[in-house]
């Protein structure tokens, strides 16, 4: 067993157990902390695949920015007690059965799939210069067109987030005139 394999298995064990922790823990704050740990373990996997840039971005953006924001929101909403609503027995049973069936299907497909071992020496696609070249050559269209997506998300922040003025009599009169 090489060092690579040992690292892979350790990281995988951390990732899977922390992911289970996210959904099994009752306290939302614990869930978020487990999710951050999962992101760290996945970043470790990226490093093993020689994709250092992706690993760093994953930590900075997801673990650093987004999850910390999450944590703030949860703490502000004061959800730390287990206040999640309880579902009825029948709903729980239906959920367990359908989820279990889906799990079985995916498990069966992965078990019979032809797993191919990745050649870990030749992948330098994750290095930052190669990533930049790929992003601006082959994937330039999706890269550029995501700007439309972000633009509409920003409009959303303004339309939904900004306070709408209460209708004063003056504006109401103006609208009446314009109609």
């Amino acid at each position: 067993m090489e060092l690579y394999d040992i690292l892979f298995w350790v990281l995988s064990a951390i990732a899977v157990s922390c992911a289970l922790g996210v959904i099994l823990s009752r306290n939302p704050v614990n869930s978020v902390l487990f999710l951050i740990l999962t992101f760290f373990a996945i970043s470790g996997h990226y490093v093993l695949m020689n994709a250092q840039f992706l690993a760093i971005v994953n930590i900075i953006v997801y673990a650093g920015a987004i999850m910390v924001l999450f944590l703030f929101v949860i703490m502000l909403m004061n959800l730390n007690a287990d206040v999640e609503p309880q579902k009825g027995q029948l709903v729980q049973l239906a959920g367990v059965i359908s989820g279990g069936i889906l799990f079985l299907v995916v498990l069966a497909s992965i078990k019979t799939a032809k797993a191919e071992i990745m050649d870990k020496t030749s992948t330098d696609i994750g290095l930052i210069s190669n990533l930049g070249k790929v992003l601006f050559k082959e994937y330039v269209l999706p890269f550029e067109i995501s700007s439309v997506l972000f633009l509409s998300a920003m409009i959303g922040a303004i339309v939904i987030g900004k306070k709408e003025e209460v209708k004063t009599s003056a504006t109401a009169k103006m609208e009446h005139v314009s109609e």
């Binding site: 992965i110 082959e138 330039v140 999706p142 997506l149 959303g156 303004i158 339309v159 939904i160």
Partner: protein, 460 residues
């Protein structure tokens, strides 16, 4: 490609218009003009592309086949019709009128991507560009609690289905090792089928069923369509839904055609469930707006027929269904926004007060029910023809005809209320001559579709 650039630029222009133009009416006028210009650009795109050689763009990210461009043109036409009929009502939703129009332009950008994508990455971005503006439009009426609920519900469910879609794409990539949907065909054909691909197809099917509101994944539809401002419901239920269907058909027709024996049965059951749930639940609704939400589920069941039939008629079917359904539904919503009371009783006696409104509504409802000489009949004919030609799912065709008969009941309830019940319907905004003219034009389109459907299929 020109259309994608144009709609993005127009969206940005609308955003800046909000900065400098304060008058809501001129903003709506500008938007109408830009939609007309966009229609011109899509026609330009269409005429400059030859019928037989699809152009591959940006390393095969997009492929501009002729039927895709034709679909773009028709859907842009429907959007123009939508703005002409309801531009006035958009002004009443809230303060940010120019932003609403900008979002509609961005939705059209997503639509163009979804009709032309040749890469799963583009499909994903297209679906997101299509969805995110919708979450915002659903919640744009901030004073209404139901609108906020609709927005939040749609956003959470939509995010969840996006996760499922991504999982499916990942599994598919693991099996085929490419995102390119045409290359994928040969790779999945070549050796023994990789089970990962089947799991991926299943996940993608579930995600798309959510986007088009097919039966087990339809729970969000009535609440979202009912809660959103009526003008935006009209757009969501028509143009956006057609775009999602086109993307659904494109992926399953181009990539998974050879694997159809594995997934057709699953989709057939989804279709049957959609038809059953949509039609039977619509019967029990008291509000016309909510009935139209369930009717849109039922119509989705018919559109799924095009996806089920993996043959050439399916393309014609989806295009004619998309345009017939969109035009008739936009027409009904245009009448609905004029009324104060959305229940069936709100329509009582409309024929006496506004005979023209009642008449065009009758034609639109005929079309949705699939009465001959209207667009809806030809649309149903084409999608059912596609499945009959495929030849395996005759039981489903018979079941669909039965369900279409049920749909006549709830569509005709509105007609009965308008013509045979006494009452004084309250009109929220005056019906001007321009409104009447546009409604008559829409009505003429519906009948034209029913009489000469070939006119809309020449380019397929």
């Amino acid at each position: 490609m020109k259309a994608i650039i144009a709609t993005t630029v127009f969206g940005v222009i609308m955003m800046f218009a909000g900065l400098w133009v304060n008058d809501k009416k001129s903003i709506a006028g500008l938007a109408t003009f830009l939609f007309a210009a966009l229609l011109g650009v899509t026609i330009w795109d269409l005429t400059t592309t030859s019928v037989n050689s699809p152009k591959s763009l940006f390393n095969d990210m997009l492929r501009s086949e002729h039927y895709s461009l034709w679909f773009n043109t028709i859907m842009t036409g429907c959007s123009l019709l939508y703005v002409l009929l309801m531009g006035k009502e958009v002004q009443k939703v809230g303060k940010y009128v120019s932003e609403y129009f900008a979002l509609i332009f961005f939705i059209l950008c997503g639509l163009y991507l979804l009709s032309m994508y040749n890469n799963l990455l583009m499909m994903f971005i297209g679906i997101e560009i299509l969805s995110i503006p919708q979450y915002i439009l659903a919640g744009s009426d901030k004073r209404n609690l139901k609108s906020s609920e609709a927005s939040l519900k749609y956003f959470l469910m939509g995010a969840f289905s996006t996760g499922i879609l991504l999982m499916g794409i990942t599994l598919l990539y693991g099996a085929a090792r490419t995102f390119n949907i045409t290359e994928m065909v040969t790779l999945m054909h070549s050796d023994a089928l990789n089970p990962l691909a089947l799991a991926g197809i299943l996940f993608i099917m579930i995600a798309f069923s959510f986007k088009v509101s097919a039966a087990p994944m339809h729970m969000w539809t009535p609440d979202v369509y009912d809660g959103s401002p009526t003008v935006f419901t009209a757009f969501m239920a028509t143009v956006v839904k057609s775009a999602a269907f086109f993307a659904f058909l494109r992926l399953f027709q181009v990539s998974f055609n050879s694997l159809s024996e594995h997934w057709v049965m699953v989709l057939a059951i989804i279709t049957a469930a959609t038809l059953l749930v949509g039609n039977v639940t619509a019967v029990f609704q008291q509000s016309v707006k909510r009935m139209l939400a369930y009717s849109s589920i039922a119509q989705a069941g018919f559109m799924l027929f095009a996806v089920l039939a993996v043959n050439a008629v399916a393309w014609q079917g989806i295009i004619i269904y998309a345009v017939a359904y969109s035009v008739a539904t936009i027409g009904i919503f245009a009448v609905l926004v004029k009324l104060k009371d959305y229940t069936y009783d709100g329509f009582n006696g409309l024929a006496q007060r506004e005979p023209l409104l009642a008449f065009v509504t009758t034609i639109f409802l005929f079309s949705l029910a699939g009465i001959p000489l209207t667009g809806g009949f030809m649309a149903k004919y084409y999608v059912l023809l596609a499945v009959v030609q495929q030849g395996q799912l005759m039981w489903l065709v018979i079941f669909a005809l039965l369900m279409a008969a049920i749909s006549v009941y709830y569509y005709f309830r509105v007609i009965i209320a308008m013509y045979f019940k006494a009452g004084t319907p309250e009109i929220s905004s005056p019906v001007t001559g321009g409104d009447k003219f546009m409604l008559v034009v829409t009505c003429a389109l519906v009948i034209l579709l029913g009489v000469l459907p070939q006119l809309f299929l020449t380019k397929v």
